[in-house]
Symmetry: C3
Subunit: 218 residues, 3 copies
């Protein structure tokens, strides 16, 4: 993968997350500017955190004006296609899953290229992939979906980041294996949503399993 | 504008935002220390985010001890003038608007001086201006005012940042035009509050316009 | 104190805060991955913010894989000892106080070693110590404990940071005085919890003291 393709993939990921932010803004009754700002925060937030932690100069989202196009496009799309907003949260989750799949590839790869060790690169890749969504949910005053015990959100991102770091270390990350990782993460995330896969609770306890049922009723 | 004046304007902006933070702390029933900490977070938060993104060494708020004076002064003011707290949210909004007006000038200018391109500088100026207020509202567990669909909050900051970047590029940013920008942003913000100006919703939809009325009743 | 001891103390502080995060995750009904992620955020968050502000390359939490062990250990501990979760919030507060005591020492010292002035070092030490807890409470959608008017949370951290900066400036920070500072901060925090010490409110006002009683009933 050459550099231009890496930037392009990053921009596509920004677009997917920005759509999820603008859709949430529309469902919360925010205005156009709020839609643009929440979309920008979700789309660019994870990458800005990644670049600040890599400590390699101003983040790409600020130094490259191209990064402003995806949030603008996302806000316009949500404004002119209001039917999509009424179609409930499934669309939001699909766009969110696409962004997640792309960002755990591009985030991990960028950290490896910057010279981080593989463990740190996996950690940064996961942070990039889940960061924007956590910012989105905190801003919308909700417990982040990342922590929903009925859902696998972080595990697909971890799998994708580990695969990316493994392939990169072996010199096997290329135009065939990269897309395979992205599709695998996306499929894993959508299957988890479809079949309600989830991981064990944080503590084995009778009281807590009761708490879990309470959470489900919400 | 020489450097000392730039720092002085920045300190005045910190003071205005810190007062808005301490006023909110008082109305939420926080204690003196909470008032000082929330004031510091609101006053210094936007600038710290700006300086971290500019990646030019430790943020001014940490390297220059003078930046601690405005939050201390703001917390003392709110403590010794409790009547102002009872006067409702109008005072908070006025201080908030003053900080917004000053920070979109100083934030944009600092980004331009650090060599950012004008688009990035506008983005950073807006981030500086709205960042502290978003931190304040998230910490106080509310949906940030930035996203209130009955209010123009980001647009005055965007106008101010674009004007600042335009004047700076033309070499026209000086002691006459700078204050004009600040006063224009402040007036625009106060007029928007007074007359309830707002921008179109994020999506054109019958369901969502109903949602908007629901928001108003809160 | 040589460097290895400093890293070890930092890791112990990360562990204490990570346990407080995993305990909260368990009580909120999050799953194992959520427990690991919230523990990591609380344990590593304050230090990452500190290192980003110090602007001295990638944060230790990312460049040194050892920092991932304490959150893993904390999540496993909470999973295999579920009784501790049922024992209510006292255990969480004890681990939180231990982390607070260690981090105001290690945070202040690291800032001083990086060449910050003593005032900035105290500010950064307090930010390191309270940062993780604020992230924890915001993510769990609560007003941060830092702002609870019935509790002293920031003052012990401030005392510890000032003591550390004072001892370091005099050249007296060593293996005897360091632990004394940590124990003093921990005791001050636990005594404040035990006896309900608190500081004056943010504003002197009849209305606000009524608000305070309302807060207490929550």
């Amino acid at each position: 993968m050459n550099l231009d393709l890496a930037v392009l993939l990053d921009l596509v990921g920004v677009f997917f997350f920005a759509v999820s932010g603008s859709l949430l803004a529309a469902r919360k009754g925010f205005d156009m500017i709020g839609s643009l700002l929440l979309g920008s925060m979700v789309g660019l937030g994870g990458g800005v955190v990644r670049d600040v932690i890599l400590a390699a100069g101003p983040p790409a989202a600020f130094s490259n004006p191209l990064y402003l196009l995806p949030p603008l496009l996302a806000a316009a799309l949500v404004y002119f296609l209001p039917r999509s907003v009424e179609r409930g949260s499934r669309l939001l989750l699909t766009f969110d899953a696409s962004g997640l799949a792309l960002f755990c590839l591009t985030g991990t790869r960028k950290a490896l290229e910057a010279g981080m060790n593989p463990v740190a690169a996996v950690l940064l890749g996961v942070t990039t992939a889940v960061g924007g969504g956590v910012l989105r949910d905190i801003t919308a005053n909700e417990v982040p979906r990342l922590f929903d015990p009925h859902d696998l959100y972080a595990i697909p991102a971890m799998v994708g980041a580990v695969l990316t770091a493994g392939l990169w270390s072996l010199g096997w990350l290329n135009l065939v294996t990269g897309p395979v990782v992205v599709v695998a993460v996306f499929m894993l995330r959508m299957l988890a949503l479809r079949f309600g896969w989830h991981s064990p609770l944080a503590a084995r306890s009778w009281i807590l399993s009761r708490r879990r049922r309470a959470f489900r009723r919400d």
